[in-house]
Symmetry: C2
Subunit: 231 residues, 2 copies
């Protein structure tokens, strides 16, 4: 049971920032597992290609490689069934697939344009060049132009989180009284932003702000102890 | 075990149309239960006030009244634990709270402006007046004005369903291989639209269209047999 996890970092190897890697970090902690972190940078394609992936997270469990945060969560749930469940049953696992898509689209997709030009500040020159070139091609404009309207965009982003806000009216976590993988899916996006950008995504009065605080405190402050900006 | 369900109807008592009542109808079928339908119209406030509610669905189980589709689903799950589960475990039940909010906001809230002026066509004069007056006050404009841009609005609505579309890439239902309450939450909105409006919400090539077909066929065609427009 020797786990290793490739995690996206920039100049600071102690500052992993990928939203997907954070989903996995939180999932590992939920299962009471630890993994040796292997810092990985955008331009180190060969290191993960050796394990059949183009991206991180990639988790190694002995000789076996598992790529993609969703696949890793399922692998952990199946491989460690006696430890706390990430999904709370078959229905939760199936619905978490939807949460994963909502997290990708509404949360990661919603946050990205608001922090995109802050990201290169965390990267070494070679990685910053790669990031800028590939993302500017994707958006068809300069990173700074993508991010220019974030003070307006954040209003729409906060509104798009309304289903989560409604959920938190009657329960502390998406997973109910305690967090589960559905929470980590969404939290990963917020932790990513916290690590790389000073931009304030949430108002302090927002119940989602309080939910994020609870997750920053989870597992003895695992996420809060990781370097980041004030949120 | 004598169940009765107040269901919103218009001029045709055999044509229940509330998205929330349809969530309950599907949940009852999932549990293999039948309930005597009590047709209820917008202006019949006294009939449900007698059971402590202002709205439908209200379900009566003998002397006990349960109001609100979410409360009813939980009541059914707890009261009939030996029948097929609506949530597939505690994690599914917790996450379904989020699905319920997403269904309310993205699906019911997204569909409403696109079918709003069609709804009075299904109502008797008194109910149509009530509906028009109350909803025009809510939107601050005439129903026809709210609905005027639906040919454009439907594009944004279809886009907003992307998390569901992504989910259906790897599983047949939000509940996994078979539908569960998470599916009925979302489906209720589509069935509501189908019953009251000829407006086409989905393109035939959309995987969500195929998912809706499967739910129209579920439980021996329960939803498809209910009168509605072609979809």
């Amino acid at each position: 049971m020797s786990l290793k996890l490739f995690e996206l970092v920039g100049t600071d190897a102690e500052r992993p920032f990928s939203p997907y890697c954070w989903r996995t970090r939180m999932a590992l902690a939920h299962k009471g597992l630890t993994a040796e972190s292997i810092p990985w940078r955008f331009t180190e394609k060969a290191a993960v290609a050796a394990h059949g992936s183009e991206k991180v997270p990639v988790m190694l469990d002995g000789d076996r490689a598992v790529a993609d945060s969703w696949a890793i969560a399922n692998y952990l749930e199946d491989s460690y069934p006696d430890r706390p469940s990430l999904f709370g049953g078959a229905g939760g696992r199936a619905m978490a697939r939807f949460m994963n898509a909502w997290g990708d689209i509404a949360v990661v997709g919603g946050i990205f344009p608001m922090i995109i030009a802050d990201i290169p500040n965390n990267l070494a020159a070679e990685d910053a060049d790669y990031f800028r070139t590939s993302r500017e091609a994707r958006f068809g404009k300069r990173l700074e132009e993508v991010m220019a309207s974030r003070d307006q965009a954040v209003t729409g982003f906060r509104k798009s989180l309304e289903p989560l806000r409604q959920t938190l009216k009657t329960q502390a976590f998406i997973g109910g009284d305690a967090p589960d993988y559905a929470d980590y899916i969404v939290f990963g996006g917020f932790q990513w932003a916290r690590v790389v950008s000073p931009f304030l995504l949430l108002e302090e009065s927002d119940s989602i702000h309080a939910w994020r605080e609870r997750l920053l405190d989870a597992f003895d402050g695992l996420a809060r102890k990781s370097p980041g900006h004030p949120v």
